[in-house]
């Protein structure tokens, strides 16, 4: 049995760990609320953007545009969104696993990392890395999303990149965040859900469809990247909150067991002392 002193030392070390996890949980709760409302404010824009692109593409079926075809050669770019800090449960490793299990061969993939954790994990495994945008995830701005999408679109137009994917964690609610991988370019649309009304209204484009698509699709890509960035921030804090909550309650449990053990050891030592005194007194008399 461990000595009383050992137990006491362990207990106090776990207590201080628990204080840290508790504080981290509180911090991420506050950050989560902020990130969540920010993500919600950006929803109308990206939803509308999505609807517009979809309606343009459904109405003009004979359209032939550079963003609708993948290049023959070139790599598949994956924008990988993870966090810069750890202690967020499976948040970062889920994205890493998702990308490795996506079926895209390692040689054809080029990763645009946003978030140090994912970047480090993938470069250790020998994946090719492009420009690092890790600082963006701390506080994503729309300007950052523009910069990222411009670089990718440029590569796409030059034929260096044939397809663009986005790997991020979508925020469902505080306890559940789902890692997702979506194709950004070439644009593919699920055309089955277009409403009847949408199909009937004829739409005019000024100056013309091609030019509208020329401008709208980059904005569409940007808005998806921006939306994903905001959702990732919310997810990261949600994941950290859940992980820290579990850590805090685990620490609580350990402290309880250790207290029990400590009390037992204390009682044992008192009993032993008493027995010794009585035995000593008896020996004298």
């Amino acid at each position: 049995m461990a000595s009383m002193r050992d137990i006491k030392r362990r207990k106090s070390s776990i207590t201080s760990t628990q204080q840290i996890t508790k504080a981290m949980k509180l911090v991420s709760t506050v950050k989560l609320q902020k990130a969540r409302s920010k993500a919600e404010y950006s929803k109308p824009y990206s939803n509308f953007m999505y609807e517009t692109v979809r309606s343009i593409l459904t109405k003009s079926t004979n359209i032939d545009h550079k963003y609708l075809h993948s290049g023959d050669s070139g790599k598949k770019a994956v924008i990988m969104m993870t966090s810069n800090r750890g202690l967020a449960g499976g948040y970062n490793s889920n994205i890493t696993k998702l990308i490795m299990g996506s079926g895209i061969p390692k040689e054809e993939m080029i990763i645009y990392p946003i978030g140090r954790k994912g970047r480090d994990a993938m470069s250790r495994k020998g994946y090719q890395m492009a420009t690092d945008y890790s600082d963006v995830i701390n506080d994503p701005l729309y300007k950052d999303a523009i910069e990222i999408s411009q670089e990718l679109l440029h590569g796409f137009e030059k034929g260096e990149i044939s397809e663009i994917y986005l790997a991020y964690t979508s925020f469902k609610n505080t306890v559940s965040q789902i890692p997702k991988m979506e194709q950004l370019l070439p644009v593919t649309m699920d055309q089955t859900t277009v409403s009847k009304e949408d199909q009937i209204i004829p739409m005019n484009y000024e100056p013309n469809e091609e030019e509208v698509l020329d401008m709208v699709i980059p904005k569409y890509v940007t808005s998806l990247i921006y939306g994903a960035l905001l959702e990732c921030v919310a997810s990261e804090n949600g994941a950290r909150m859940t992980a820290m909550d579990a850590a805090t309650s685990n620490a609580e449990e350990m402290i309880d067991t250790l207290s029990l053990e400590y009390n037992r050891a204390r009682q044992g030592s008192i009993t032993q002392e008493l027995t010794e005194i009585i035995a000593g007194a008896e020996a004298i008399s």
Partner: protein, 134 residues
């Protein structure tokens, strides 16, 4: 007075404006347009310029930079990357940006930079115009 329609101005950060208007003016790549209710359905590209919303309590003014507009019979939606009310505009900054852009244009830099400078100049001028009426 003309009939009212539903107008929505959305930016990536927020819903900038949502309400009933009876006339709205803005600048597109094809020139300035004014829209009443029952306009034919149309999608147009925005150019940096002033957005004028004529509603019941008067005219509202805002600066719009880059985006597009979707017009349906009873609904007009503006998607702008940046939209600002007059009181959100920093006139000093816009002035500086204007001078900087003009200087770049005068010095005749590379073509890519010239396009950038032209866009920056247009932005600054729009901001100044809207900001003036503060």
């Amino acid at each position: 007075m003309a009939e009212k329609f539903h107008l929505k101005v959305i930016t990536p950060e927020r819903v900038f404006y949502e309400g009933e208007a009876f006339f709205v003016e803005m600048n597109t790549t094809e020139g300035e347009v004014g829209i009443y209710k029952n306009h034919i359905p149309m999608t147009m590209l925005l150019a940096p310029g002033v957005l004028l919303i004529h509603e019941e309590d008067g005219v509202k003014e805002a600066a719009l930079h880059s985006g597009f507009i979707e017009i349906l019979q009873d609904r007009v939606s503006v998607l702008a990357e940046i939209a600002e009310w007059p009181d959100e505009i920093d006139i000093n900054r816009a002035n500086e940006a204007k001078i900087r852009a003009e200087r770049q244009l005068k010095n005749g830099e590379q073509t890519a930079n010239i396009i950038k400078a032209e866009i920056a100049l247009k932005r600054a001028l729009t901001r100044l115009e809207v900001g003036r009426h503060k």
